[in-house]
């Protein structure tokens, strides 16, 4: 693993030196008539609760962008992160795109499906105002963040409004059957690199921007897989249906010299009834495997203030909840809730420091300081 990480770092350094040279030299000598750059971000957090204070996982996420022609484009992101077992190297996505026309793009590979707007977009660390995910929207939550497959997407004007659309066919979620991981029976591995059966999932999102200034976007998403269990297993035919609704709105309000932003999302997942093995026994059990999650946030930043220090601050509040299956080993009777307050300071358009306080219904209050640098 260390060799792989070293190799990646050397490759990035080499590529970056080439890109730097590209800025001052003749591009045709480096990349022919193609164009390449590296962007991305790095983040680090300091987390504290009643029991510990910890500099937690640090991640570095270079994004490789390559413009091959006016129609061909590749985007790929890797993540190098410190974790509990050392340094991890992950391919987040590698998405090959072909711009068919002004309204339609086809893409294939490992991509960020637009199931809802949080994962892969509003949840990106330099966009998200908070250091932590809302409950039900991070690991162990509902819905895919990364998928392997093929898709069509685009955007088009509709008079004073705009519409955008994404539809994809992907491997879909892999059902955890509980034989090796009984605590997570009935949950899904959404981001598996390989499918566990021959069935493919279908998903999509349609977004509408009704106002002429694009300040409001509402979207509806779905993903359906009629089979999510391992091939030839008793659970192979377990289907899952997910849907989500999202809303993003911002407005500059002159009297208070500030920009106010409202963001919210609701998503729901319904899984067919299935029988999972009781640990250390020969019997099986089942439960209603339906869950939902929602969050809403509001933030205010004095963007029009004459005071430079003041206008770089942003104050944010978010409420989220996660309703899990009551009888699942990972579920419970109580709805998980979280209230979060964040005070951010913007160092640059994509660099910020976040100070977040989380009040969680099932765990200690959490205090997080996070540094995010986009590049």
């Amino acid at each position: 693993m260390k060799r792989k990480v070293l190799f990646i770092l050397l490759s990035i350094a080499l590529s970056n030196s080439l890109v730097s040279a590209q800025g001052g030299g003749d591009p045709s000598k480096l990349f022919g008539n193609t164009k390449m750059m590296i962007t991305g971000n790095a983040e680090a957090s300091l987390v504290a609760d009643t029991g510990y204070v910890n500099f937690t996982d640090v991640s570095f996420k270079p994004i490789f962008l390559w413009h091959l022609s006016d129609r061909l484009f590749i985007e790929a992101e890797t993540e190098i992160a410190s974790g509990g077992e050392g340094v991890e190297l992950v391919l987040e996505y590698a998405n090959m795109c072909y711009f068919i026309n002004d309204f339609l793009t086809i893409h294939a590979g490992r991509f960020l499906p637009k199931f809802g707007a949080y994962r892969g977009r509003m949840g990106e660390s330099f966009i998200n105002k908070f250091a932590e995910d809302p409950v039900g929207f991070g690991d162990g939550g509902i819905g895919p963040m990364i998928e392997s497959g093929i898709g069509l997407q685009g955007g088009a004007p509709l008079g004073n409004s705009k519409i955008n659309y994404d539809f994809w066919v992907s491997n879909g979620p892999n059902l955890i059957d509980g034989t090796e991981d009984p605590e997570n029976a009935g949950q899904f591995e959404y981001e598996a690199y390989a499918d566990n059966n021959k069935n493919k999932a279908i998903g999509g999102r349609v977004g509408l921007l009704p106002f002429s200034n694009s300040s409001l976007e509402v979207g509806v998403s779905f993903e359906n897989a009629s089979k999510s269990g391992a091939a030839y297993s008793d659970l192979e035919n377990t289907g899952v249906m997910m849907w989500a609704a999202d809303l993003e709105y911002y407005k500059a309000i002159s009297p208070i010299k500030s920009t106010v932003r409202l963001i919210g999302e609701y998503k729901s997942q319904k899984v067919d009834n299935a029988y999972y093995p009781v640990p250390d026994d020969t019997t099986f059990y089942t439960f209603d495997n339906n869950s939902s999650a929602a969050y809403g946030s509001v933030s205010i930043r004095p963007t029009a203030s004459k005071n430079k220090l003041l206008r770089n601050f942003e104050l944010c509040y978010r409420y989220s909840e996660f309703d899990r299956p009551k009888e699942a080993p990972w579920g419970g009777d109580k709805v998980l809730t979280q209230s979060a307050v964040a005070l951010d300071y913007w160092l640059r358009w994509n660099c910020l420091v976040k100070l977040t306080w989380n009040k969680n219904s099932d765990s200690d209050n959490l205090y997080v300081a996070q540094f995010v640098y986009g590049f």
Binding site: H67, G154, N350
Partner: protein, 90 residues
């Protein structure tokens, strides 16, 4: 088979939408310049980066990336790119 039907309906539906010539902006929208579109569209998700953040070559790449990530329409993206590359006055 049912899923295949859904796939074909989706594909042909999107293709029909893409070829639908009446998907046109109003006059007010069509008259918007790159600077205004840059502010409006970037602000949907994040702070708008200034022109000098990237070179003209790099803006070509970034705008491709944003066309994918944010589904910005091609006509608007071309205006935003021209503005960021300094090809048009603010």
């Amino acid at each position: 088979m049912k899923k295949l039907k859904i796939i074909f309906v989706l594909i042909f539906g999107i293709a029909a939408l893409a070829g639908f010539n009446s998907c046109a902006p109003s006059g007010m929208i069509a008259e918007k310049g790159g600077a205004q579109l840059w502010g409006e569209n970037c602000s949907r998700c994040h702070n708008p980066p200034s022109m000098d953040q990237y070179s003209a070559e790099q803006w070509t790449i970034i705008t491709d990336h944003m066309r994918i990530r944010a589904n910005i329409t091609a006509a608007e993206m071309n205006k935003i790119k021209a503005f960021l590359q300094g090809q048009v006055a603010m």
